[in-house]
């Protein structure tokens, strides 16, 4: 992969973020080799550097999913059309977006197969088979896989016809347990995204119009991107008994009566990689939080023509020392100017750059440059791993803090519709405003301002004022934003 850079370096520089956010995003994705367009409409290739970020997110999330008692499994890619059709709202929501397999093994199939857009239908069918008694509950299963939803307009990581995700599917004895699971996972998602990706998110409940097709209630975490638009980063659904009734998932309860299970489902996707880019990136490219950075440190040897003899051996020693301390390090040995290497690794968002030249060696020190603040400091070689570890923690903290501050500066409250519209026309971000709960009012606001309700506080009491648009009694303080 490393050799790839060289050819690309002559291609183009990236559009400054401040100039055109959308082009900047695409430039970063391409130039940092995170993803590439494929010959299949709407599908992208996730390149090794982008995939390594996804793997780190995936591992962090998988660890938490398992620690809370869930187990992984794998269900078929294909869903017979008749199964998808069993839950009315579900099929209505997904049918326009699905891909159909009609031929296999040289023959036309008797029944069309849907390429899974999500797996409630196939998993529900299996749960009906596996659950007999309350003793079989809860079922706490998660799946890592690819899903396909036909998209007209796509954007790498954010919206693609095929994407990767995890989908959890659980079945419970009681409604209360299902609701507790739904919220536990929502909190787990928030904690994961904030801790690992340094992306602060707002937890809340979706409105009826934005909820998952077939769910009772959908909760989401919403992040604010660098351009002030919101991005849904994860969803957790309380399915009630909807799928249990559609797929006949029943159990003999403790009182011997036959009951339907209570279900949940929840997912986070490769779109998270897009969120990391859009929250932290700057004019020079990617800025990666250390915990999800494929390389946390790049070592660049500095020196005259003979740097391979004078500097490289020490650089390799330092690399070995940092690797032994569990730090992800790359050493850039290429025959290029240091300045060229600096730009390359800034573009790729490596959190710390370690420069080492003959003078540093004399002083038994290295120069460490932070990607987030661009501060440089001399650090003694003695005890370097601990110092680097400390700096990485500091970068991680600083990125979260910076993103939190940005969100606070871009979150406003509106009491009147005029103020609301002005805010949406002006500096973008979240606008918190009372809402009456009516779908037509929500739709009207969207038409007039492009803003949608991202989510609403969980368990919040009704606000005092009237709906920001219609003045009718408000049911919630909704978080509005223009969204991806």
């Amino acid at each position: 992969m490393a050799k790839q850079d060289k050819a690309d370096a002559f291609v183009t520089e990236i559009t400054p973020r401040s100039q055109d956010f959308s082009r900047w995003y695409l430039d970063v994705v391409r130039r940092a080799e995170l993803a590439d367009y494929s010959p299949v409409k709407g599908c992208m290739v996730i390149r090794p550097y982008g995939y390594a970020i996804w793997e780190l997110i995936q591992q962090a999330l998988d660890r938490r999913i398992k620690a809370t008692g869930h187990v992984n499994a794998y269900f078929p890619l294909f869903i017979p059309e008749s199964l998808l059709n069993k839950e009315a709202e579900h099929v209505e929501g997904f049918a326009p977006q699905v891909a159909y397999v009609t031929h296999g093994g040289g023959e036309e199939l008797e029944e069309k197969l849907v390429v899974r857009p999500t797996s409630e239908a196939i998993i529900g069918t299996m749960y009906a088979k596996w659950v007999q008694s309350w003793r079989d509950l809860p079922i706490l299963i998660n799946q890592w896989c690819n899903v396909v939803r036909w998209e007209k307009v796509t954007r790498p990581f954010l919206r693609t016809t095929e994407f990767l995700w995890q989908e959890g599917h659980t079945a419970h004895e009681t409604e209360a347990e299902a609701e507790a699971e739904t919220l536990m996972i929502l909190h787990l998602y928030k904690e994961t995204v904030e801790t690992e990706m340094a992306v602060p998110v707002v937890e809340g409940m979706k409105s009826e119009s934005e909820k998952f097709a077939g769910a009772l209630r959908t909760y989401s975490i919403e992040a604010l991107m660098g351009d002030g638009r919101a991005l849904q980063a994860g969803t957790s659904h309380n399915l009630g008994q909807n799928f249990a009734k559609a797929f006949d998932i029943t159990f003999q309860a403790r009182d011997k009566s036959v009951q339907h299970v209570w279900g949940t489902s929840w997912g986070m996707t490769t779109r998270l990689v897009g969120a990391a880019i859009m929250v932290h990136g700057d004019d020079s490219g990617l800025v990666l939080p250390p915990r999800i950075a494929p390389y946390q440190v790049v070592i660049v040897p500095i020196g005259r023509d003979n740097w391979r003899e004078t500097v490289l051996p020490k650089a390799k020693e330092i690399q070995a020392e940092l690797v032994a301390a569990g730090i992800r390090v790359t050493l850039d040995e290429r025959d290029e100017r240091p300045g060229w290497k600096f730009s390359e690794w800034e573009l790729r968002g490596v959190p710390l750059r370690v420069e080492i030249g003959p003078k540093d060696i004399e002083k038994s020190a290295v120069l460490v440059a932070r990607r987030d603040t661009r501060e440089k400091q001399s650090v003694a070689m003695n005890g370097l791993p601990a110092a680097i570890r400390g700096l990485l923690d500091d970068v991680q903290r600083n990125l979260l803090e910076r993103a939190r501050q940005f969100r606070e500066e871009h979150t406003q409250r509106a009491d009147t519709y005029d103020a609301f519209k002005q805010m949406m026309d002006g500096r973008p971000g979240f606008v918190i405003a009372p809402w009456c709960g009516a779908a037509d009012c929500e739709a009207q606001i969207k038409t007039e301002t492009q803003a949608t309700i991202r989510n609403m506080p969980i368990g919040g009491s009704a606000p005092a004022g009237g709906c920001v648009r219609c003045g009718r009694p408000a049911v919630a303080e909704a978080w509005f934003a223009k969204a991806y």
Copy 2:
């Protein structure tokens, strides 16, 4: 998942392996909850216990793939039909087995999409875009994903329409480098399967008729199952320049000439889980090698009605101590007889069972039973983690040794066709015999004995004798077997 057992325990016992190997296999898969049939023809559900085995294999293999300089990436599930058609042998080999997507997003597609049966076509297309100069080589990419090959007769793990695998795809400057990569991966596969799964394998080259569609040469590792039939456990292909020419993957060489790259591809699949079952299992069910066992140890508290008070606290202490030592442990707290629990966990193949009762506690010891040898021994609680670790290593070693011995006892040499046929009719296993290299002779042997050439020694010189069937000069000592 644990609660699931209870209901199932009343269902059926398993067919003894000695009585009907094929039914035994299916019984173990179902009763140990490794996999289940799905409503989609030919597709299975990998249940949590089976998936946990796959995850352990996957992690062990992924670690090795990365340690040898490869990086992971992700390419689209769909391949436009025209791309698959570019390599003539490749399409001929795979076209009869593919599934076609013809409709998406409510419309008929202009071009049919193939659900990937393997990804040479889509990855080759991208490599053509990414490679310009010899400096861009080698490309060393691996992908973990699902693939679909329409199958008429299926069997859980061994042959299913959809399966999970990794597929490596590399591009090199020279033919020698590609061949070295192909063989390096073959050795890596052998080492992984032997070390992690305790399954001994025979490395070798496939005959022309058995090689991968589009490859120059295919190498494989072949394992012998408990019924004496062979199973192809992994393949590594030297693609030569076939795909490079079909997909126009060219580069400017060091001498400025334009050359096609030299390619390789290689894969191992979820079928490995089937191999582990069929190599180590016995009449009582699964026998898992510790390194791929989801639980390496099960703790079963023994005692009268009041065991929850008298024994459970100590059992939990021991569990915590073992977990802290990095051992995968489950504690069976269910309200069932110990004897019932013993059978359950034997069926599930847990390598070590730790029994703890009031008398053991008095003696500050536990009783440890090995799944492989069924030996029981009293082990002092003091220093238990180290003792358990030692026993686990011993079980792992013993299983490999036992499987190796079984294979040796079931490997024979045949010099005459009569002897060959007699061996194939009699005790099944590998038969090594000289072969002339002619496809018609190979086909004839298959028709007459059901045996196929599994593979042939790499770089071996031609044997002295004539072909076992036709007497013409032999080109290799081929390993024949009836195979899955």
